[in-house]
């Protein structure tokens, strides 16, 4: 890890993928900084949507929450949550949604609800928020999360947000999860199953395998994620001077 942290690499790798989308639904946590970074670097025209009721946000600071006052001030539109979820999201206006996750499985099912049994939880997680409907109604889903054998699991303890069910996603749904970015690598879905797309600099394939609860599909040659550039690092650090997200 020379010159940048795991989290910086993860956020930068995530932001790089938001080059062509116009409307991005921003989830809470790491997606918040990844999307803000994308808007400041690869995609200044990116329209940020927040479930709190904001379209076309132009935040002058990095918000801790997705309902921060800086998201309303200077936005293109502020609307009720009914209109946001019904007309913007369910109405099909969102190209991509960026979410976090506690657990994900090989077919992209996401768990943000509970570790263990729902009725007798080992760890009670926050729950769906908007994730359940975002997963169905957004054009596609990008996931950014910390990877370990406990978060990359063969079967999630609880399906909060549906991934790629057997037989594929029903007509009328978005494409579902198409990208996962972690502190170790970048993953895409082929035939509805996750596979390695690139590994971050300084990370060994064995590290990736060790941090995955199933036998991960790995192509013959695995690309290395291009390292963060100086401008990328400057931008992400400028976004989070207190390192609230970057740690």
């Amino acid at each position: 890890m020379s010159g940048w942290s795991e989290t910086e690499m993860m956020v930068i790798a995530a932001a790089r993928r938001l080059t062509t989308e116009r409307v991005c639904f921003v989830g809470i946590g790491l997606p918040n900084i990844a999307c803000a970074l994308a808007k400041r670097t690869v995609n200044p025209g990116l329209e940020l949507v927040y479930e709190s009721g904001v379209y076309g946000a132009d935040p002058v600071r990095l918000p801790l929450s997705i309902g921060d006052p800086t998201l309303a001030s200077g936005a293109s539109a502020v609307t009720g949550m009914f209109q946001l979820f019904a007309y913007y999201l369910q109405g099909g206006m969102v190209d991509v949604a960026f979410l976090g996750a506690a657990q994900i499985d090989p077919v992209g099912n996401i768990n943000t609800t509970v570790i263990g049994d729902y009725a007798a939880p080992q760890v009670r997680l926050p729950g769906s928020g908007g994730a359940c409907e975002i997963g169905i109604n957004a054009g596609k889903l990008f996931v950014v999360m910390r990877q370990s054998a406990r978060s990359f699991v063969p079967v999630v303890d609880f399906v909060t947000t549906t991934g790629h069910p057997p037989g594929g996603r029903p007509h009328g749904w978005g494409a579902g999860p198409t990208l996962v970015v972690t502190q170790l690598g970048v993953y895409e879905f082929t035939g509805g199953r996750m596979q390695v797309e690139s590994i971050h600099p300084g990370v060994a394939l064995d590290d990736v395998r060790a941090a995955c609860g199933w036998d991960l599909a790995v192509p013959a040659t695995v690309a290395e994620t291009p390292p963060p550039t100086a401008p990328e690092l400057a931008a992400v650090r400028d976004l989070d001077p207190d390192r609230t997200y970057l740690g």
Partner: protein
């Protein structure tokens, strides 16, 4: 990426023969300028949707642009009938007009379902009414929780929705005050959207008061700047409803010959809405000017 276009170009590019078209705005902000341009360009076989067809559809139907009307209240508000529409419906004169009829909330629910990507919208209406018998699209829907039954209406997704607004940016972010009707739902429900504004404003004006944004530019295909473009309807704070014209229309539309002459004189003989406003004359506009009544300011705060 400005979307500003002339009304002529916007209608030519975005409204096609046979389209389902909604020129929305409930009494307020009805884009007569757009309706007249559709007449001028002699569109045909349109399905026209509005809660209240109002004079604009009486004119368009008289001009022969429509084959079907989808509506919930077909009258001249406070005056009486829309006679061109009645001739088509009562006597197929000069041709039949297909109708599909709902109540106001039914139409609002249809736009809402269309905007929200829902296959239906439920409402407490129609029970005991003959409307479901007259329109097979209005169906009973039992609640999944018990013995209650409501009614459902299907989504309405126009090919084109045309909404007039007080101000918009060149990207189409549109703000409205006063009556907002169901313009937001009609716009989100549409495949294509034309925003017709009284004033083109900088992005900063919109962003200084984002709660007023009814329609995001995201939805908008063309922005037409047409000051006074809603006459004889009105734009809150800009000009009054021309009630004298609504009263006078009764005499005009009763007589097909007089109505045809009116269309010749006020639509076909004019190149665009600028000609119409000029022809109407400064005195008329003066008589429609409201006394200023400014809102207060609110503070959004800047958070760094």
């Amino acid at each position: 990426m400005s979307k500003v276009a002339s009304m002529r170009d916007a209608i030519a590019a975005l409204v096609g023969d046979g389209d389902t078209v909604a020129i929305e705005g409930f009494t307020h902000l009805i884009s007569f300028a757009a309706g007249h341009e559709i007449i001028r360009q002699r569109r045909r076989e349109l399905t026209l949707c509005r809660l209240t067809p109002d004079l604009v559809y009486d004119q368009m139907v008289a001009a022969g642009v429509a084959r079907k009307l989808v509506f919930s209240w077909m009258g001249n508000p406070g005056v009486g009938s829309l006679h061109a529409l009645r001739r088509r419906i009562e006597h197929a004169d000069p041709a039949p007009l297909e109708i599909e009829e709902y109540s106001h909330f039914g139409m609002v629910g249809r736009y809402t379902a269309g905007a929200a990507g829902l296959p239906f919208f439920p409402l407490r209406s129609y029970a005991g009414s003959d409307l479901p018998a007259a329109n097979a699209n209005i169906v009973p829907l039992p609640s999944p929780y018990g013995d209650e039954t409501v009614y459902a209406v299907p989504p309405l997704n126009p090919d084109v929705t045309i909404v007039a607004v007080q101000r918009a940016t060149s990207a189409g972010d549109a703000q409205v005050w006063g009556l907002t009707g169901c313009q937001q739902e009609a716009a989100f429900a549409a495949k294509r959207v034309i925003v017709v504004c009284e004033e083109l404003v900088d992005d900063a004006v919109v962003r200084a008061d984002p709660n007023r944004t009814l329609i995001p530019g995201l939805l908008v295909d063309a922005v037409v700047v047409a000051p006074l473009g809603c006459h004889p309807s009105y734009a809150q704070g800009y000009y009054d409803r021309d009630n004298a014209f609504y009263l006078a229309w009764d005499g005009i539309s009763r007589n097909p010959a007089i109505l045809d002459r009116w269309l010749d004189e006020w639509v076909f003989a004019l190149a665009d809405h600028a000609d119409y406003t000029a022809k109407l004359g400064e005195d008329r506009w003066q008589s429609l000017a409201p006394v200023p009544a400014p809102s207060g300011r609110v503070d959004y705060g800047s958070y760094r």
